[in-house]
């Protein structure tokens, strides 16, 4: 990485190979679109190359690169605006539905629910539940207070839960909307 920081293109190529798959996987999960994810990953890698000399602490590379990637995802998301910006919120005092959720996993419903989240909310879900980053680290990656991360995660998960329950609980859906 130090060699890449000093402009060694071969060293950067090795670095890009090492991190490219991981960045692409995250981008795809945030954007839910192959073309957008590829564009975001490409943009992130180019920004990494351009700004690598400004990274003071190589130990922070992972968090820094995720931050650049998420920014690229935001840009792609804003460019296309293919998601609905508003969440459908499930009231918190509704009956427990764990039994149904444990036996029925409807990918389409989850996909629809996820697409209804803003890219900002999706990023929190993916960083925390896919990369397994603790919330403190998610906050560092996104550059937002941890309270914002908690709030986004809370609302995102409520939205996903609502989506999973939507078809089975039409009455709830009407109430939530």
């Amino acid at each position: 990485m130090v060699r890449a920081q000093h402009g060694d293109e071969e060293a950067f190529a090795s670095l890009a190979v090492a991190v490219g798959n991981r960045l692409h996987a995250v981008a795809h999960r945030i954007l839910r679109d192959t073309d957008l994810a590829e564009d975001a990953t490409q943009q992130a890698l180019l920004t990494i190359w351009r700004d690598l000399p400004q990274l003071r602490d190589p130990a922070r590379f992972d968090a820094w690169s995720y931050r650049l990637l998420v920014r690229a995802c935001y840009a792609e998301g804003r460019r296309t605006r293919s998601w609905a910006p508003n969440l459908t919120i499930l009231p918190v005092d509704q009956p427990d539905v764990s039994e149904r959720l444990s036996t029925v996993v409807d990918r389409d419903q989850l996909e629809r629910g996820f697409r209804h989240l803003s890219v900002e909310h999706r990023a929190v879900v993916v960083l925390h539940h896919y990369l397994d980053l603790p919330l403190e680290q998610v906050a560092e990656v996104l550059g937002v207070p941890i309270g914002t991360v908690r709030s986004r995660l809370f609302h995102a998960m409520r939205g996903l839960r609502a989506a999973l329950e939507a078809d089975a609980r039409p009455a709830l859906r009407e109430v939530a909307q």
């Binding site: 190529a13 490219g20 692409h24 351009r50």
Partner: protein, 315 residues
């Protein structure tokens, strides 16, 4: 198991599905572009002087203190009498800058490096002065770095975040950032309005209408410049940048694709000072708050005679 944990489990399982390999053609496209993209060590081009040894650094620090003391003694009357802010400042627009009283403790002299290498700043108040043409005092929280990069530029930025503030004097505008054709000719006239109007008319850039503002007691104009979301169709500068202006030192200011910068143009005692700030987005709330804090602490002019600045350590 609670519903919440079950939803978490389902979502985690669902997220595991999907591609995990970056297509080779994407990687190839990146590596093809790399040779044409210069690495950004600073937002201005570096130029080099012979390296100084430690004695030289100490000497430079001592000299800096002496220069500041001389500046305070000889130049303060000029700045306080001639360049002083209006006694009744006009209403200001966001981010609600307010004149900051001189700090009770002397500000630290911001590090000067003609190479433009910023140094980490402890939380506190700093004076960006010699050789910068318009002395400016500001207060930073932790995690910032800065440098006086010459007579025309003081640059501040967060070390880990995206917040940044640059103070520029005498920028020359480029003719067209999206279809590079060198500097605009003729350049705008000498007033704040001249520069604001020229920026607002800059082709290839989306701009807001210049609005009246007062920053640190000085009147001026504020506008926002936004670059296109993709620059694929642009003919960029020889270094591959979407360039907005250039300082006499050769320093350039550019925008990345989709980037928006807020720009304040002020008349500070006859000097046209431009402050630019990359506009924060929703995800940068903490950075934005830090930038607002720094912005609201801006104070032009030298500190009061009783509080000369102390030299900051060399990196």
């Amino acid at each position: 198991m609670s519903a919440e944990r079950e939803v978490n489990r389902i979502v985690r399982s669902w997220l595991e599905e999907g591609p995990t390999v970056l297509p080779e053609r994407v990687l190839d496209a990146v590596l093809d572009q790399v040779p044409a993209i210069p690495q950004r060590r600073h937002s201005w081009p570096a130029w080099r002087l012979p390296l100084m040894n430690s004695e030289g650094r100490i000497g430079a620090a001592v000299a800096a203190v002496v220069v500041v003391v001389l500046l305070v003694v000889y130049l303060l009357p000029r700045f306080t009498n001639v360049a002083g802010p209006p006694s009744t400042p006009a209403p200001s627009s966001a981010p609600s800058p307010t004149p900051t009283p001189s700090p009770s403790t002397p500000p630290t002299l911001l590090h000067y490096d003609p190479n433009g290498n910023a140094v980490s700043l402890d939380p506190g108040t700093y004076l960006g002065a010699d050789p910068f043409l318009v002395p400016v005092t500001f207060t930073v929280p932790g995690g910032w770095e800065g440098v006086v990069a010459g007579p025309n530029l003081v640059a501040l930025n967060e070390q880990a975040g995206w917040g940044a503030l640059n103070f520029s004097v005498a920028p020359a505008l480029f003719a067209n950032p999206c279809h590079y054709a060198g500097l605009l000719s003729p350049q705008p006239g000498p007033t704040v309005d001249d520069l604001a109007s020229a920026l607002a008319r800059m082709p290839g850039v989306t701009t807001t209408t210049p609005a009246d503002v007062t920053v640190a007691g000085y009147q001026g104009k504020q506008l926002t410049l936004t670059a296109p979301t993709n620059l694929y169709d642009c003919k960029l500068s020889p270094v591959g940048s979407f360039e907005i202006w250039q300082l006499p030192s050769g320093t350039t200011s550019d925008l990345a694709a989709g980037e928006a910068d807020q720009v304040w143009i002020l008349d500070v005692g006859g000097q046209r000072v431009v402050i630019d700030e990359p506009e924060s987005t929703d995800e940068d709330l903490a950075d934005a708050a830090d930038v607002r804090t720094v912005f609201s602490s801006i104070h032009f002019g030298l500190p009061s005679p009783g509080s000369s600045a102390a030299a900051s350590p060399s990196p």
